[in-house]
Symmetry: C2
Subunit: 1000 residues, 2 copies
């Protein structure tokens, strides 16, 4: 850039002018501290209800925990947002957005601007939407969301929310290393204007704020919000909820809110938000939607400038013969996973569609990029195949009268099939005679057939999360913006989600998404190639891999295989251009896991190694060509520098003291109100881990390791690194432990505590104890999951407990474990919570076993008797499944079932008198039973033993039932026989309850 870039205030005024020119209301920042412009009533309330709303405003946004005391180049407790709401979607919001960047001097041609999946949600506001982070040369500069819900209410119409991070945009625009070096305006620096207050607010949020006082104010403000709602006052109630939110953020930054308490606070805020939203919606209705008919908006932009309203060309020449067919579904950027999944689905669905439509075809290819899914069919028939079918009509005796003349019934049937009665014949089927006809269906033009079926093809694509965006309320991964459908030269005319098909595709975003008219299906691939779009995922992947490898080689490094990352990056671009970036060597002093986590997870960069050693380089992949690549590299390097600076800031802070020294700070982190702090949890784990370790049969050395790990396990939650990057919890603790001189065993146990499966037995003891404490505690506190609502993540805890024990094939009595945990709780433990917790775990266990492929009956059978021991259940299920597959199983099961069925209705248990068993069949079964009981005593009550015993007893049982009348008239004889069968039925106790199995 040769001209002087805009300063901060010029940039802001320019953007406001731009959006004013687009018909937006220009609103003011809110006078309550908010974390984001979304919380301003101009967004969070106005997006509700049917009225249109187009607004733009600045919002100084306060996020206390982003505070870095002014020491980070682009992270601070206050940043400036530009918030834009377009309701309804005008049809071209991304173009409007990109044009706004051009208006301030950021050219899409010179930079790498990308749309990276990011699904926004605010648990406190009961709001969520789908969209992206917009990246400018690797830097997140905007959050772009299609708002689906707010205050727990579905939004209709959907609003487009564009939230600019103005400081970061200015940083890129002005090309500075830090926001503090930017020009604000009127000769004043951004730092001159803001730095001192930034530092002070950070000190306040991190060190000074009075936790108890602010909690009390939170409670008071919440009450005030509810009083406002009770009085029908929406706006003041919302204000108080915002104040609560800010107080929560401060408390959180102060480290005063535990993981589980957080969920409780979110619930409180969400409940108020829901009431606010509901009241607002009712209010607007009562006011009869005063701005529903704004002449400045209605009949406005959505119709005039949106794509997707291309005129159909009726009567376009159909292909004369077989010809290429192409369908391109154009949309805003699909998330990585959605693209992969959609391609797979289409690969299955397209052949099925063509077959069902009787359209002959050649090779089918399905390819795609984030902005387009393309189906290419070679040699598609111009018409569908003719077909004949035999149709059955009324019975012959009703179709023809006594004289053999066709009746009305025959005539009606013939007419309904387009035939004359002469075409009818009589056929015989199953001894009965019917009228029958051969119906010939002629083939139809491919255009007709495709036009009918393509909408269903698109509608049939399912996404993990889908969204609505316009009045059709059709769902798709992201807004569908164009449809290209050509058979040969002919347009296949149809409409889907309000978009009419056409013969136009669009070029790369960096080139301004130029419209490209495709004259003929065969011209589609060449057109895309000319537009330098790499349509095939494999091609893109190969290009990236090769390019990245070459770049790594240029610095004598390699990129370890990382297929997941490679796949993701492949799906983020239409035209990949890998580039090599570097960072300062000094950052290599940080734990590689932190650097790599930042590069991979945050930036989607490929880290570069030399052997084990990380190199100060990375490969990023640009969407676009190599022009202006220096600008893009420069931007990316700025970003990673800021990211690493952030990590370094935290790491340096953490290593000033040992891990153990963080333990006292856990007292400030609430685990859950009734269950105390994380420090309280730690104290409980210190007592519980030895007990659990004993149950697990750990050696003395292992027990010592587990005990030490328990004492330090949660300490890293108080470290800055983990407060900042929660995903590193446990792992950082392990790192810090090792760094502080703890044994490798201790470090491992700490590092793996949140993993599903532990690699060592001390780690297993810690992981099991931790989950037992959470499960027992939260059920005892009456906070077990309700319905689908699982705020404290107990499902996950139960699942990991199951997975870990089964992976270790470790028998464990959960009842004893829960009781041991329950005894340490600050709340009352007893039968009720124990039963609830066990039932909850049993439910998860059933799920795990079903997931493993066992039929429902088998799962039920083993869980009924093994819920308290997941590993046992796991083995039992496998064994039972094995047993059921054996050919003699029906007979074996039936024999056992007879014993159960005849004894189940009995009101009492009879005592077996062996000496009174006189009949040979009786004695034979008695012998078999005694052998089985002896084996069970010796080998334990496993399914294998039990089934083997049954198999041994089956002949005796069968014979007894067939040859002897069990229900003898003599009560003594009868009861002794029943006592024998009761003993046999009882063999399954503690092993499996077979009564639910098929064939029982």
């Amino acid at each position: 850039m040769t001209t002087t870039p805009l300063n901060f205030q010029q940039m802001i005024l320019r953007l406001l002018d731009y959006w004013q020119a687009q018909g937006c209301l220009i609103w003011q920042p809110y006078n309550v501290q908010v974390g984001a412009g979304t919380m301003n009533p101009a967004t969070i309330l106005r997006v509700l209800g049917p009225e249109p709303w187009n607004v733009a405003y600045i919002e100084p946004s306060i996020r206390p925990d982003d505070g870095r005391f002014g020491e980070n180049p682009n992270r601070m407790q206050q940043h400036y947002q530009l918030q834009v709401i377009l309701k309804p979607d005008p049809g071209n919001p991304i173009d409007l957005y990109l044009n706004s960047l051009e208006a301030i001097g950021i050219s899409r041609r010179e930079h790498d601007i990308r749309f990276v999946e990011d699904n926004w949600q605010s648990p406190a506001l009961g709001a969520w939407g789908l969209g992206w982070e917009v990246w400018l040369d690797g830097q997140e500069i905007t959050q772009y969301t299609y708002f689906q819900q707010a205050g727990g209410l579905d939004l209709n119409p959907v609003s487009v929310e564009i939230t600019y991070g103005l400081d970061r945009i200015a940083l890129a625009l002005q090309g500075k290393n830090s926001v503090w070096e930017m020009a604000y305006g009127a000769g004043v620096g951004y730092g001159d204007a803001l730095l001192q207050a930034e530092i002070e607010h950070c000190k306040y949020y991190f060190d000074v704020a009075d936790v108890d006082a602010l909690k009390m104010i939170y409670d008071t403000y919440e009450r005030e919000a509810i009083r406002c709602l009770d009085a029908g006052l929406v706006a003041p109630a919302h204000d108080y909820n915002l104040k609560c939110s800010q107080l929560f953020n401060v408390l959180d930054t102060r480290g005063a809110i535990g993981v589980t308490e957080r969920a409780a606070y979110f619930g409180r805020m969400r409940r108020v938000a829901h009431r606010v939203s509901t009241a607002y919606v009712e209010q607007r209705q009562q006011l009869e939607y005063p701005i529903a008919n704004n002449p400045a908006w209605s009949g406005g932009r959505a119709e005039s400038s949106a794509p997707g309203t291309w005129n159909l060309e009726p009567g376009t020449h159909a292909p004369a013969d077989v010809d290429t067919f192409v369908l391109e579904i154009g949309s805003e950027e699909l998330p990585h996973g959605d693209l992969t999944s959609a391609l797979e689905q289409l690969r299955a669905a397209v052949p099925a569609l063509l077959d069902a439509a009787r359209l002959a075809h050649g090779r089918i290819r399905v390819q795609g990029t984030p902005r387009r899914l393309a189906v290419l069919v070679e040699g598609l028939a111009a018409r569908s195949a003719d077909v004949e079918s035999v149709v059955k009509g009324p019975p012959a005796d009703r179709a023809f009268d006594a004289n053999g003349q066709p009746t009305q019934a025959a005539a009606g049937f013939a007419r309904s099939r387009g035939l004359s009665v002469d075409d009818l014949t009589v056929v015989e089927e199953g001894g009965k005679r019917y009228v029958s006809a051969v119906v010939r269906e002629a083939g139809r033009p491919s255009l007709e057939v495709l036009a009918e079926r393509l909408p269903d093809l698109i509608a049939g694509i399912k996404f993990e999360k889908s969204m609505r965006w316009n009045a059709t309320n059709v769902s798709y991964s992201r807004p569908l913006r164009w449809l290209l459908a050509l058979h040969g030269p002919a347009l296949v005319p149809f409409t889907y989600a309000g978009v009419a098909s056409d013969r136009v595709t669009y070029g790369l975003r960096p080139f301004g998404s130029p419209a490209i008219v495709v004259p003929d299906a065969a011209a589609y691939l060449p057109a895309l190639a000319e537009a330098t779009i790499v349509l095939d995922v494999d091609d893109r992947r190969a290009l990236i891999a090769a390019g990245a490898e070459a770049l790594a080689r240029s610095v004598h490094g390699v990129i370890p295989a990382d297929p997941a990352l490679l796949d993701e990056v492949t799906n983020l671009v239409e035209r990949p251009t890998p580039l090599l970036g570097s960072f300062e060597e000094r950052f290599l002093a940080l734990p590689p896991m932190a650097l790599v986590a930042v590069m991979r997870k945050h930036q989607r960069y490929f880290p570069i190694y030399q052997g084990e050693r990380l190199l100060p380089y990375f490969v990023a992949v640009r969407n676009g060509d190599a022009e202006h690549l220096d600008i893009v590299r420069d931007g990316n390097e700025h970003v990673i520098r800021a990211r690493f600076a952030d990590a370094a800031f935290f790491y340096d802070k953490d290593i000033r003291c040992g891990l153990a020294e963080f333990v006292p700070a856990l007292g400030k982190l609430t685990f859950q109100t009734a269950l105390g702090s994380m420090l309280d949890k730690t104290r409980r784990l210190e007592q519980l881990v030895p007990v659990v370790a004993a149950m697990l049969g750990l050696s003395d050395a292992e027990r010592a390791t587990a005990g030490r790990a328990a004492a330090l396990a949660k300490a890293d939650l108080a470290t800055s690194m983990v407060i900042e990057m929660t995903s590193l919890q446990g792992k950082m603790g392990g790192h810090y432990a090792l760094r502080g001189g703890e044994s490798a065993g201790v470090a491992t146990a700490i590092a793996e505590q949140y993993d599903a499966v532990s690699s060592t037995r001390p780690a297993l003891a810690l992981a099991v104890a931790d989950r037992l404490d959470s499960l027992a505690g939260l059920f005892a506190a009456g906070l077990g999951p309700k319905g689908s609502n699982d705020p404290f993540g107990l499902r996950r805890a139960a699942l990991q407990l199951i997975e870990n024990l089964t992976a270790h094939q470790q028998r464990f009595d959960l009842r004893a474990g829960l009781d041991a945990a329950g005894a340490l709780l600050p709340v009352t433990w007893g039968d009720k919570p124990r039963a609830e917790a066990l039932a909850f775990i049993a439910g998860r266990l059933e799920g795990v076993l079903r997931e493993a492929g066992h039929p429902a009956g088998i799962v039920k059978a083993v869980v009924a008797e093994n819920a308290q021991d997941p590993s046992a259940a796991w083995l039992a299920a496998a064994a039972l499944a094995e047993a059921t597959r054996s050919p003699d199983w029906p007979a074996v099961l039936n024999a056992y079932a007879r014993c159960v069925r005849i004894t189940r209705p009995l009101p009492q248990r009879y005592t077996l008198r062996p000496d009174d068993l006189a009949v040979a069949e009786e004695r034979a079964l008695l012998d078999a039973l005694l052998a089985a009981e002896a084996q069970r005593s010796a080998a334990g009550g496993s399914v294998e033993t039990f089934v083997a015993s049954l198999r041994g007893m089956e002949p005796a049982i069968t014979r007894l039932f067939e040859d002897v009348l069990i229900m003898d008239k003599d009560p003594a004889v009868r009861e002794n026989r029943l006592a024998l069968l009761q003993r046999v039925a009882g063999l399954a106790a503690g092993v499996a309850d077979l009564s639910g199995l098929e064939g029982f």
Copy 2:
């Protein structure tokens, strides 16, 4: 206006663009609810210290008690401000401001834009400044202030603060009847955007807010602010103080804060503000003033565009002979009172100056308008007169040696006077001989003399309140912007307050203040006349009076004489054009006192009567000519409509119930924390008034009236009308009482309770009791005034108590009155508070008597003995003054003084044994004494009686002292004589202490 006016958001963006172009930083609204943009740290902190700062920003400003539930056309709890700070003063801020209005389409030529004195202060921020309300066609649209202090600290440099009321400006611009009808932008109405929230916030502030909860939060936030300050955190502390301020405003609106409690809250906020400010100043110093040298500002606008830097013309031709002299001191708009006072001062000072300067002159005229003070001197001499003077030197015997030769002393003296020793002569004076010389001082050119003296002339003008505005730190009423000083054709060259004199004056603001070059002093008046400026106050007054009368006649009405208002209006304009406006008849249903108060006090309109009846018309006076007068009238009518709508809103609310029904609400109005609510005060008055009435000797009927009035006295404090227009307190209560069927006597007592002098005796009883309660209560609570700090207005209470009692010539024992009040207090009453209260009242009483013209000695004499009875003191002072003026007073006083002086040192009081008085002189004095004592007993201890007695005793006293040795050797004789004199001295007890009088 033919073009479509800007909508609200366009207007805002246009103004921001304008100020950006003037070099201002464009800041954002604050994210804490504030009552004004001033509280944003971008103002209240940045105005501190030496660094320059130019900023503009929007501020949605919350004033809960301005809430009208959306029912008022231009008053609401939230309005939008544009806040501009120019630091230092750029020299032409008013022009910059007026240009900004032009930028949005408000032409100074088409409207009446006036600068009406309004001195802003914020007790909560410890801040104040001098300036104006800017009126647009009668509507206040801007607060314009030269900031003198903030946080209790003097500001240097001074900041110009311009606070636009954007809603009102838009209202005028869009020509709507109500803000709710305005266009906001993008097709959305202002009401659509804001009305619903407005109504809800009002409901919350007036009806819902939880008083106790918010008070608790206030305390908590204050503590948090102090904790921040203790930690050195300025910005967070300031935020909390702002939050406290908002909470205070809500509590106040909720009616939860009493008059005296208010002062306490202000004190708390001010203390925090002071600490914040002090810490900020220190911080900026430690940071070494990072923005002190902003190239965008330094060397910037102040120099280039400010007036007052006209080049001097050295060597301008001096007048050849006597010629007219003119001095014009041009400034920004002077307040009414300052203009009057300055003209008076100049009328005295100019002749004195010319005399002192020995400049002969003819007629002197001093005239002026709000923007200029003009001194015109006819026939001023071109040179000052020569003068001779005789100067005395050293004694002759030191000046000449024995030989008659001049010594060094003589030579030195001659040299110091510019003479030779030959010029010295010897003169004799008082028997001693001195050297003497005649010094001749030659006249000097008038230009030189005037240039020397004119700065002092200007500096000598004193204003009640004056201000600084630029680096010279010179004080003046408002910024002095130009100086025209011509003697004949010649420029009198001098500089004052950074302004160099010139030959340029400026035309009317509505015409753009065009520069007018005045070639010659004689051309000055014609130039002003041509500019249609009416320089003479009397001319303007006459024009207004005649015009207003004519307009009133046109609607068959008259304007009652109102010299104060006429004088004020005269001083608000340079060229008056009266205009007739009207308002809806329906408003006449309101109490005339309210309508008239609004018209006179708020709008400076002349109300029009027909007999006793108010007519729905008014006369306003425009500054400017008659062009576009319809626009101006229209604007003024909009304003008065909004004002009256406001009054009607309150009145209608109030009369829904009787006055007595407001009494319970007084329970929510704190009088003072320790002294309870206004309801508590009412209950005390109900008990105290009968006691006081008895002391005052009221009849039974009067006592009943006073008692009923006491019960209702404070009720109107809870009425909306009084909450809104405090100046109507008492008066509205009287009105509502009468309207509710109370007797005229009760209504009068209520109406007059805050007046200095009551018209009836029941009213007197109530007024006295009310003030006794306040004085006793606040002294008992330890809240008596300290130094010049009198937060509870006790000075005024004491003064009114004194004035009322003396006006009624009502004897009253304050000790008994205070004790009666004290006995009813919820706090401990006793000797200490009684003594303090009496001493405080005595101090005020001395002041009152001194004001009445009595010498200090007399005041001391009577107050010493009558502090507890102001009326008695008043009469005593008059009598004593009278006595001192009689010719025999010295002798009488001396005689009495001899008695006092000889007895004063005695340690004890002797008993007089009359029978032992043997000497005739003794007996004569004894007879005179007994007569005096008898008379005192009969007539009471008045000064008249006492002086008459003294006069009678004087011969006996004189004789006794001259003929008899008082200090006889015989102790019995001596002590009996002293006893006699002690009795004489004691006659003054309770009357006056004469010992401080001159001649004692």
